[in-house]
């Protein structure tokens, strides 16, 4: 049973500390963080509302990070958030190769071992890898490509143990 009374509030002292992290900010009146708390509430309402619109548009029941990203791109008021959401990958882009530095590094690691590119070559069976959830999804969803032995270790076998197994 959800409580829609909206009694939950942001911690005022925490807001003040966050404000004062900025060296330029000096003294802050007691009422100020209280006022910011309200503005923050409204702001939260705004981004959640906008993100939810994207969620609904896509027929989803879960607000994903890239829904938020799209919302930021759609709404002028949220321009200042563009950098923060920049790193969020858009799944409709297909692969995750080179989308950001992180996944590139991981790709390099993989290529080093089994010389397999994402989505190409004899695809490995599902493995638990220590990487972001989204990439894992990609791999599991990827269809088994045609038996193209160009990428494997020369024996056409699917290497199960060869890859990084972080356990």
């Amino acid at each position: 049973m959800k409580n829609k009374n909206k009694q939950t509030k942001f911690p005022v002292a925490r807001i003040k500390r966050i404000m004062q992290k900025d060296e330029e900010v000096g003294k802050v009146a007691q009422a100020t963080p209280i006022v910011i708390s309200k503005a923050l509430e409204l702001f939260l309402g705004l981004i959640i509302e906008e993100a939810n619109k994207v969620t609904a548009d896509r027929g989803s029941k879960k607000v994903e990070a890239y829904h938020l990203k799209h919302a930021v791109e759609n709404v002028d008021m949220l321009d200042f958030l563009k950098e923060i959401v920049e790193a969020v990958p858009d799944p409709s882009a297909g692969g995750t190769i080179d989308l950001n530095a992180e996944s590139t590094e991981k790709e390099k690691k993989r290529r080093g071992k089994g010389k397999r590119a994402e989505g190409g070559g004899p695809s490995a069976p599902r493995k638990r890898r220590r990487k972001a959830g989204k990439e894992e999804e990609e791999e599991e969803e990827g269809p088994e490509p045609e038996a193209d032995n160009t990428y494997d270790n020369g024996n056409g076998k699917q290497n199960v143990d060869d890859e990084e197994w972080d356990g």
Binding site: K2, G26, T32, I34, K38, L40, L42, A65
Partner: protein, 146 residues
């Protein structure tokens, strides 16, 4: 002003980890979304980052406005002006209401203090009366224990 930030996450340790409590934000998000829609954990964390960024944005702007007025303390009025400058005019009405309420509460608190002073009781008298009340409730408590 003691502030019990009860949450299951990390304690507010170093300044660099300064963020908003995850549980609080998760609850607020749940209150905002329709009953059949959930929020991914990743999204919630991202939202928290956005909120912190918003605080910095407003504070920075308000600080400038404050300096322009040759004031040293950032007042709520500076926040409201900052909101307008940054394109958040739609927020100002409710924010001004909160400010009004707060000022009202402060006034009432001051009035209460005034009442106490006007009661003619010295601080010692008041302390004694307080002790009596404590003793009475202690006794009541102990009797219910038996």
């Amino acid at each position: 002003m003691s502030d019990h930030e009860g949450h299951g996450g990390a304690a507010p340790g170093t300044d660099d980890d300064l963020s908003l409590p995850k549980a609080t934000v998760a609850k607020m998000i749940a209150e905002l979304l329709p009953n059949d829609v959930a929020c991914a954990k990743e999204t919630r964390d991202l939202v928290i980052e956005c909120c912190v960024e918003f605080i910095h944005l407003i504070s920075s702007e308000a600080n400038e406005i404050c300096e322009q007025e040759s004031k040293k303390t950032i007042a709520p009025e500076h926040i409201i002006a900052a909101l307008k400058r940054l394109g958040f005019e739609t927020f100002t009405e409710e924010v001004e209401d909160v400010l009004k309420d707060h000022k009202q509460q402060v006034k009432e608190r001051e009035k209460k203090v005034g009442k106490l002073e006007a009661s003619g009781l010295t601080e010692e008298e008041l302390l004694r009366q307080q002790e009596e009340l404590f003793a009475a409730s202690r006794a009541k408590f102990q009797s219910t224990q038996q």
